[in-house]
């Protein structure tokens, strides 16, 4: 039960959505784009976030946002595609696998890929495969519709200008069926926030790694990857070096202490490296 009142708008095109945003903004309604809406609904209910919003713009009826398919050498994934659908999509198994462990299945019928990566939640695990594949994001905003490499707009969280939204994710075919691993560890059993999630992709001799839950933001780091790929070192040395290169202190919270996270990370990295080597 949400005690805040807001208007609900359902545009049918990107331009209509942008126009609506402009108008509602001008009226002081602090509009927000609404995709799966799960975070907006749950955070508004407990008065934690989005309490100023007096209008939501549901982008799920914009055709581009619900499109999936190949265009040229790229796989196009609409930002309104729910995670449950990605889980069943054979084209990009790493994304499917990673998304298959976010929340629970029924929630994934509602959570969208766009919503997950643009949310405030610190995990945003769906972004990991996108970081690993150097994808481009189609972003609609005041400057029109642009394709922007994810590295330029994602640093700990999405850096979107007010009034803009992610329309699509574009992933180059060459990355789609590379060997990968994706592992999520929780405090106990399967459902719940991650202690950590590791996604990795093997590109030739090198492997790319992206992490969620380790620090209070998801990331891919060159120095961590360099350490993990350093063939001069034993696996344990690589892991120890990688841990020393983390971009922020290890998270300690109710899911697990920082020291325990490190323990789990070591095990998971060891397994991941072994599996990628085999793959």
């Amino acid at each position: 039960m949400i005690s805040i009142n807001f208007e609900y708008h359902r545009p049918h095109s990107i331009s209509e959505a942008l126009e609506m945003f402009g108008e509602l903004h001008a009226k002081g309604k602090e509009p927000i784009f609404y995709n799966g809406g799960t975070e907006i609904i749950t955070m508004m209910r407990i008065h934690s976030l989005y309490t100023e919003a007096r209008a939501v713009i549901d982008i799920k009826t914009i055709p581009e946002c619900t499109y999936t398919g190949f265009q040229g050498d790229r796989l196009v994934i609409g930002s309104s595609i729910p995670l449950a659908q990605l889980q069943e999509m054979p084209e990009f198994p790493l994304l499917g696998k990673t998304c298959s462990r976010i929340a629970d299945h029924t929630s994934r019928e509602k959570i969208t890929i766009g919503g997950n990566i643009c949310g405030t939640i610190k995990y945003k695990e769906a972004v990991l495969p996108l970081l690993l594949t150097d994808c481009d994001l189609v972003i609609a905003g005041d400057n029109g519709i642009n394709e922007i490499p994810i590295q330029q707009v994602f640093d700990k969280h999405m850096l979107l200008a007010p009034g803009s939204f992610v329309v699509q994710v574009l992933v180059k075919k060459q990355f789609l069926d590379l060997p990968y691993v994706s592992k999520k560890m929780t405090r106990i059993d399967r459902i719940g926030y991650p202690l950590l999630t590791v996604s990795a992709l093997k590109t030739g001799e090198q492997a790319r790694f992206a992490f969620s839950g380790l620090c209070d933001f998801p990331f891919r780091s060159n120095s961590v990857e360099d350490a993990l790929n350093n063939q001069d070192w034993s696996v344990q040395e690589r892991i120890t070096n990688a841990i020393s290169q983390l971009p922020a202190p290890l998270l300690g919270d109710a899911e697990g202490s920082a020291a325990y996270r490190e323990f789990v990370l070591r095990n998971v990295l060891e397994e991941s490296i072994a599996e990628l080597k085999g793959g």
């Binding site: 039960m1 005690s3 059993d189 719940g192 919270d253 109710a254 697990g256 325990y260 789990v264 095990n267």
Partner: protein, 777 residues
Amino acid sequence: MIGKSVPRKEGNNKVTGAAKYTNDFSVAGLLHAKLLTSPHAHATIKSIDVREAKKCPGVRAIVTGVDYPILTGSAIEDRPILALEKVRYFGEPIAVVVADTEYEAQNACTFIKVEYEILPVVNTVEEALEGKHPLVHEEFKNYTQVKELRPDPTRNVSNHVTVRKGNINEGRTLSDITVEIDVSFPQSDHAAMETRSVRAEILPSGEVYLHSSSQAPFTIKQSIGKYFNINENKVIVHTPLVGGAFGGKAAIQLELIAYAASKAVGGKLVTLTNTREDDMVSSPVHIGMSANVKLGATNQGELIMAEIKFLFDSGAYVDEASDITTTAALNCTGPYKINHVWCDSYCVYTNHPYSTSFRGYGHSELGFAIERAMEILANKLKIDPMELRIKNAIKPGDTTPSQAPLTKGNIGNTAKCLERVKELINWEEGQVVPISDRIIKAKGISSLWKTSMSPTNASTGAIITFNKDGTMNLNVGVVEMGQGTKTTLTQLLAESMKVDESKIHVKMEVDTQTSPRHWKTVASTATFMAGNAVLEAAEDAKRQLKNNAAYALRCKPEELEVGEARVYLKSNPKSNVNVKDVAHGYKYENGNAVGSLVIGHGSFMMNHLTKKDPQTGKGVPGPAWTVGAQAVEVEFDTKTFFYKITKAVTVLDVGKVINPKGARGQVTGAMCMGLSWASREGFTFDENGIVLNNQFRTYKTIRYNENPKYIVEFLETPQSDGPYGARGLGEHGVIGMPAALANSLSAAAGVPINQLPIVPESIWRQKRGGVYDINKF
């Protein structure tokens, strides 16, 4: 009908969405109430400003503590309806807003301004005993004690229970070997899927109507009467189907707030339903405990003495915690014969949510402590833990720690349960068996026992009426909250009347105006108590039917028998009359009517229970002890410390199984709850006493497929005064699970695991020898 798996009577309503729970009601004009709760665990309330909130749309009234400066509580009156002067736990209700709609009430809550002055937090029972100021209750000495308690207010102790059996010094001398162990677990939650909900209305006649998702509708009646100074006979409570309770809905809390809310709007109908967050911490929770156990035995493994200290975390208010403290003390040894017992059990205030009854009522808590100590004793003695338990299993002729004599009629066969568990878990294979270079299979066992502590005069009743077609209506005051008692009682009546259960309509809702008074639907006593009442009512109905039939068959009533919907001559069953023709008197062909309308009634009252001696604890706390044994098997990864619970076994002596599938479901459900509690549940408090996991997102419970394979068997040593020999069984599956799990994982990991919940991180901490405290990170 006995021993038949009759599907539950309300089943079709539950699979179609038609079954109605308290909050499934709405009517035009219904007002909605919402709670504002404390963001702090301990603080003085400097001021509450409701002016802005009152101006919010739809708001009809706002009630705060000062409007009802009443203290309430079932053992000691220590708890205000809404916080008064200070808050004592995170989530404590401060104000209730009544508005036209739920969202308007919720919205207005955000406009109430409360000014606090933060106080130091009493965050553990150990801290509490230091007695530093400010105490949780500085005014304790002014409180009214309802039950007999032995408090030590200067140390935050609300009740100190002592058990003294035998001679502890002699016990120490006679023991060749002793072990000592500390165990603990934090408070946790019942987490019934239906959050607590209540509706209140006050009529101009002075009658107060409450609808509540409660295990204790008759207690609500009493409490409303008492605290608001209303004649209890004016209070009418309805309880429809309840969506799970597990002990958590026996406490009276929201009912008092809802009454105050309704009163504030001129008696209009007001509904109040907890959010999940409020249900987890604002309403009462499952108790926490720290304990120290010393066991002494001979070198041959004969138990000689037990010296036990329990520190129960009652949280900010006592509620049922003082009685749980008592029960744990009176039964502190578990089902073992020990001649010298010394137990000190303390009920301790902290700035945590307050504790109430939880499935097992002290027995799973004491069980965890004792059964971990037994395991360590077995290791030290180098005796098989199974053999140690079997050797010392309690039996008729022995006495309990409170010196209650045990007889064939009031206790089952613990050793036999253990023997059977031994076979079912394949104990001979070994407690620890490697199954790969990393994975270990390990087993853990536990005995269990439980008695049901009730008031010495707890009572119940049953009423049977007849429809024109001869079918029966059964009315009892027992709440149906999923345990299936209404179906079980139907089976008992069907058996007694020798008819199919389909001929019996059992009333699901409890209405205190028309249902016979039933103490509370708690303590696995409903089948025992109400079952006896139903059987008595059936006999009464049969007697009346025979009287009426005697006119029809022109014979004496005592020549008749009732069965198959007929009343017949014992000597010649072909001479008979339909029950439907004699249930409402008997009408001769000429129209003359004789006899009387049949209304069968029966009742049952606990008897032979005695109050305990304040010094030694001596007394008979409950009518019988149900005993059993349990085991858990895990697969443990020695590298990551992750584990899977693969198998869980329960063998329980239930006297008589009335509904096999229903009984199995009660036991497996309880086992799952026990394993969930032991493996992942428990509140995480930060250093300010704030609960960090008050949502299912972070408070984890076992989900589908995380459950083990269950093996459940029943022994049937009849309880002499139980209906057809049956004992209660609703709670028992929980009791041994925590210890069995901890015993299996301790064996697997090679380190003692004495704290719950046992998440892989807890094992990791033990393995690296660090000081264990799951709450610190």
